[in-house]
């Protein structure tokens, strides 16, 4: 009997092609649609996503089921997301969703259903070595999603297949079209799943009351008011309400820092303003995919998804990890993930807590 794989089906073309490839390779494939967020408005696309998934599975002749992880998502991901925002940081729910939901709740569910492994449509590759599994970047440099997977452990990776990790997005779409998959030209999803297409600040306003305070320049000049620190992200340009003056060609302003204690938003003028750049950062919740910290301390890192690799050195003492970048980094954002690479191997990472 062939190996039983359960594919996490999102309705998108990546998971559809993943299922297609596994089926063609002779696996016993079953698909499951994960519902992690209750539809509360017209913004949530999960109903349409499910219909797309149904059409794909019908075309592929594969069974499709739905599982609801809304409670788990709320407890493990969303509550953390809100807590971080309330503390003035900018969390990354997708990395946590992978760790807690897709590669934990869903994985366990699939194993309970008798599958030996799960598959997802992530652009990343797994490389089984003698004693461990390496997580490598996806071959499509533009789409590589290893950044979002850095919190996974050996067990999770051993139980996973990324069927499209070798492919480019273009290859995936071409194959989907060739095979007549109805979602081959569906547009890529963007942003955080539960926010969907809506305005991010508007979404946050559902959960946080405005908490206005002063907006000052890095030189200490009061230039206006802000609505509440949680509504601003470091490096943010739009929405400060203090654009160029009358007829003057003034350089734009950016969020440089948040003074949580005094509820002050600190801004700097011009994209190249030195206060927007930092070379060092400290990291918490450090996780290494291999379970061991790397032997070499000169590495590459990304502090945001799709950023080019940045050369850095790391220093580990007890639980603390500090990173020194070769080049200063724009808008180093507490709450976001820093992810380390050795060539195309994703080593792990952690949560940015401080920078200087």
């Amino acid at each position: 009997m062939s190996e039983h794989i359960i594919v996490g089906m999102s309705g998108g073309v990546d998971s559809a092609v993943s299922a297609l490839l596994l089926k063609e390779q002779g696996f016993d494939v079953e698909c499951i649609f994960m519902k992690n967020w209750e539809e509360d408005s017209e913004y949530c696309t999960s109903e349409q996503d499910y219909k797309d998934a149904l059409l794909v599975c019908d075309e592929l002749g594969l069974p499709l089921k739905t599982v609801n992880f809304c409670n788990e998502y709320k407890e493990k991901v969303f509550d953390y997301f809100l807590k971080e925002y309330a503390a003035g940081r900018t969390p990354n729910p997708d990395t946590l969703c992978n760790k807690e939901i897709k590669f934990k709740s869903f994985l366990n569910y699939a194993l309970e259903l008798g599958a030996s492994r799960i598959a997802t449509g992530h652009y990343a590759r797994l490389d089984q070595q003698n004693s461990s599994v390496l997580l490598r970047k996806g071959n499509d440099g533009n789409k590589d999603q290893s950044y979002f997977l850095f919190m996974l452990n050996q067990y999770q990776l051993e139980k996973t297949i990324f069927p499209i990790g070798e492919m480019t997005k273009n290859d995936v779409r071409t194959l989907a079209k060739e095979k007549g998959l109805p979602n081959h030209d569906r547009k890529d999803s963007t942003g955080v799943c539960f926010i969907g297409e809506r305005d991010f600040t508007e979404f946050l306003h559902q959960y946080f009351k405005p908490n206005p305070g002063e907006m000052i320049t890095v030189d200490g000049k009061i230039v206006g008011r802000h609505n509440g620190l949680m509504f601003y992200t470091l490096g943010q340009r739009q929405g400060l309400g203090i654009g160029g003056g009358h007829g003057k060609k003034e350089a734009p302003w950016f969020v440089a820092d948040k003074n949580i204690k005094d509820n002050i938003l600190i801004i700097a003028q011009g994209h190249d303003h030195p206060d927007l750049f930092h070379s060092q950062l400290s990291v918490e919740n450090v996780h290494w995919i291999s379970d061991e910290s790397p032997s070499t301390k000169i590495l590459n890192a990304k502090i945001r998804y799709r950023q080019k690799d940045q050369s850095c050195s790391i220093e580990i003492s007890n639980d603390a990890l500090t990173v020194a970048f070769k080049n200063p980094q724009f808008a180093v954002t507490p709450g976001q993930a820093v992810v380390f690479y050795d060539g195309d191997i994703c080593l792990g990472g952690g949560t940015i807590v401080n920078r200087n």
Binding site: F33, K35, E39, S46, E47, D49, Y50, L54, P63, L64, K65, T66, V67, N68, Y109, L111, E112, L113, G114
Partner: protein, 376 residues
């Protein structure tokens, strides 16, 4: 496929299917046309009306055909906006085709009180009595619930309504074909039906509207259905409904015996396999062949996937538009805790099921419980 989800929908009865294809092929004339083809179509519709009337114990001119049970409910409820008395008494276990309509009628000044149920899912007529205000114009309480099958004390509620001259509507969508449904004996003013729940086609329903009660149409156009429902009639669908109703009524005692036999066999086998299984609903006042059973400690979505692999169709809670399963609102209203709620399956037998099917079902449930237990 082993189909045990007849409360969700039923397959077409072969005789109904035969009649519908014949009507669709040969008698396609517009029932409003005066030529022979139109007359034949009109005759078919009136035959169906007679069959339906006989099946539910009313006169032919008290039957209005609609586009389904939901539309039948809507037709009654939207008439509230023309009434002076805009307060409604309903129950917490009604179908969304009642409760969501009432919510939407709020902006037209309609208010409602939803009375609760006891742990067997039964409405207490005293609660209805106590909820009556001088503004109460309608009581709408279902004849039997679709999830756990508890048959409601409609006759007692009718007596209360009659005393105060309040109109009484009952949603009998789940009941016809499973228990005798007689409009005159029940004494209700309006009653909703849906053909696909009794081996008729989807997209056709009927509303019993007691003589003397005139409803304004929801769908306005030509003069069909005594101006209570405009639009060229769905001849084959209505003919199918009529025959299905006749078959349901004629075979009611045979069907009941058969369904009870299947349910009893299922219950005793399940009690043997899983002694801590809980049967929800009322011990006696229960639709035959509908079983709502909880398997404590087992997630119902997992059970359903395993059973589906064996070709078994059962149901659980209420499936939503994304295909996922939520804790049943109905069971929550009965005071059933979420963990038990989430371990509940609804099995609804039909006339096509056999004792052998039941054995297959219980055997698969047994192996599924064992598999899940060993994987945990």
């Amino acid at each position: 496929m082993y189909y045990f989800d007849h409360s969700a929908t039923t397959p077409l009865h072969p005789k109904v299917k035969e009649l519908m294809s014949e009507v669709g092929e040969l008698h396609f004339g517009n029932p409003s046309s005066v030529h022979a083809s139109g007359q034949k179509a009109k005759t078919l519709i009136e035959t169906a009306r007679g069959q339906m009337a006989k099946a539910i114990g009313c006169n032919s001119n008290e039957v209005v055909f609609t586009g389904g049970g939901t539309e039948a409910n809507n037709l009654v409820l939207w008439n509230l906006i023309h009434q002076m008395k805009k307060h409604v008494i309903t129950s917490v276990i009604e179908h969304p085709a009642v409760l969501n309509v009432l919510d939407n009628l709020g902006e037209f000044g309609v208010t409602y009180t939803a009375v609760g149920v006891d742990e067997t899912g039964m409405v207490n007529p005293n609660d209805v009595q106590n909820a009556i205000t001088e503004k109460t114009g309608l009581i709408t309480i279902m004849l039997a619930n679709n999830e756990m099958g508890t048959i409601q004390p409609i006759a007692d509620i009718v007596a209360i309504a009659k005393k105060q001259s309040i109109i009484l509507h009952t949603d009998a969508v789940q009941s016809i074909g499973k228990i005798p449904v007689n409009a005159k004996e029940l004494g209700v003013d309006c009653m909703s039906f849906s053909a696909h729940k009794f081996y008729g086609p989807k997209g056709v329903g009927a509303l019993f509207v007691s003589k003397g009660l005139k409803l304004k149409p929801l769908i306005i156009g030509g003069n069909q259905e005594r101006r209570m429902r405009a639009g060229t009639e769905n001849t084959s669908g209505i003919a199918g409904l009529g025959l299905a109703a006749e078959l349901a009524a004629n075979n009611i005692h045979k069907t009941q015996t058969h369904l009870n036999e299947l349910a009893d066999a299922f219950k005793s086998q399940i009690t043997y396999i899983c002694p801590n299984a809980i049967f929800n609903g009322h011990p006696e006042k229960q639709l035959p062949g509908l079983i709502n059973v909880s398997f404590p400690g087992f997630r119902n979505d997992l059970l359903m996937i395993h059973l589906d692999r064996h070709g078994i169709a059962v149901s659980s809670g209420s499936a939503c538009s994304s295909g996922d399963i939520k804790p049943s609102r109905i069971l929550s209203e009965m005071g059933i805790k979420d963990d038990i709620n989430n371990s509940t399956l609804r099995i609804s037998f039909g006339y096509g099921n056999t004792l052998k099917d039941v054995e297959y079902l219980t055997r698969c449930i047994k192996s599924t419980l064992e598999r899940i237990r060993s994987a945990a």
